[in-house]
Symmetry: C2
Subunit: 273 residues, 2 copies
């Protein structure tokens, strides 16, 4: 098992948002090698049909499997809500999505049982978090709200802009009126705006970051299965994308919180083969 231990953790997303999840992996699991794949050529997955999202997710997963990953983290809310079963059936490594870890962490934090969820239109429309929360605890009350401007605001890096505050107030006032005590950031872009969201929601709110939630689950799994890396050297982090859009480096480093080294663009043909 010694070689499997030191295999990397694989993480994929439809684009760049999953880097906020990688950032948490680095904090919670600092000795682990990682491989990230961002399908930037085909972003976003949220507006695509379920069958297309499953097809793309299986290609993304296969890419990571070919890099010998020991576990796959699906750092994309859409793929998490649609393709987890297919990924688990196809690949012989554990598959960790965003929804269940986020829901579990939210349930561990809430006192009032009133939980808010914010996400893209696609995530909010398919009610993936509401279903998971209700499955785990039928007594909770869940309030969902889509916040489509948060993704471009995060990518613009307007973290303290007055417009961002106004937009956050507009989106969040309903949730405030519902007296939630816990708010799930149901989109991997949103942790970038956590400070302003906290400011609007008030100091008592528990913000649930999917990256933190998933990192806790991954760490527990690796410990329980004796799969933590035991290498005595700096871990290797490799980043792959299917396209390098404009401003990629700037946005990626904002999301990751550090420099993106070892970045490789792969051809879609390589992914689809």
């Amino acid at each position: 098992m010694s070689d499997v231990k030191n295999n990397p953790i694989g993480i994929f997303d439809s684009g760049i948002g999953g880097l906020t999840v990688v950032k948490r992996m680095f904090q919670f699991l600092p000795n682990e090698n990682t491989v990230y794949f961002g399908d930037t050529a085909r972003v976003p997955y949220g507006s695509k049909s379920n069958s297309t999202v499953i097809e793309y997710s299986l290609q993304d997963g296969k890419f990571l499997i070919d890099k010998n990953v020991k576990i796959i983290v699906v750092a994309c809310n859409t793929a998490s809500s649609v393709a987890l079963d297919e990924l688990s059936d196809k690949f012989n490594v554990p598959i960790i999505g965003m929804i269940e870890p986020g829901a579990k962490l939210a349930l561990s934090k809430t006192v009032s049982g009133r939980i808010g969820v914010i996400g893209t239109n696609a995530t909010v429309n398919n009610k993936a978090y509401s279903k998971e929360l209700k499955k785990l605890n039928p007594k909770v009350e869940v309030f969902e709200k889509s916040c489509p401007l948060f993704v471009p605001l995060a990518e613009e890096g307007w973290l303290n802009h007055k417009a961002t505050l106004l937009i956050a107030e507009e989106y969040l006032h309903e949730l405030k009126e519902h007296n939630i005590d816990t708010l799930i950031l149901g989109c991997t872009h949103y942790p970038i705006l956590a400070e302003i969201i906290h400011k609007v929601m008030g100091p008592e709110i528990h913000l649930i970051d999917s990256g933190t939630a998933a990192s806790i689950i991954v760490k527990d799994y690796l410990i329980e299965n004796d799969l933590l890396s035991d290498e005595n050297k700096n871990p290797v982090h490799n980043f792959y994308v299917s396209d390098v859009p404009s401003k990629f480096k700037e946005v990626a480093e904002l999301f990751l919180g550090t420099e993106v080294e070892n970045l490789t663009k792969i051809d879609l043909e390589e992914l689809i083969h």
Copy 2:
């Protein structure tokens, strides 16, 4: 030629933005039948490679050709800047893009020769408008600025929100300092925000709407070639999309300025065959 005359005008876009172009076609050419195709399942084209955009555009064009269109309007800035030659080579009808009509109309309006262009990151990065303007008149000075938040603001319908004003001020102050007298709205979503853009830029600015620019060119072409419809009945407008995303109807009607009737969702398989 009598049947060709009464064939519809075909218009395609990567999504919903092209409906602002259709709106202008209705105004300038009220007796014409139209067919619109919005590739909402594969939106946006701006982040995709040129070869992918060409492939998708040829599929979109073929779909319209199968509907017997007499002319094709490419109501998408990305496809216009990448795929016009391939569309013209492949199909035996005139192909009208967004870039050349917009540039020509801007040149007819500017007095100072100082022209601004706003668009998505993709459009601004490939400098399609600058190249076209300089080709038509090497003496003009062109200033481009990407405004990524304008698309989601338009789709949210926040036309008079204070946040929209703040964002417009932030994006446009550079262009104001450059003393432009004409501003090309280089994205088919932006006419939705024309009022607030006008407010920020001042009453003297000429705003160039691609839909208006393209409609003028299409009308001229149809008149010169004796291809105006001579039917004595209400024209038929058909709308096709490859997906019906959430809030589609609401946003589509905001963009079109009227109800979207005769809407059909087609399968991507049908498009690709």
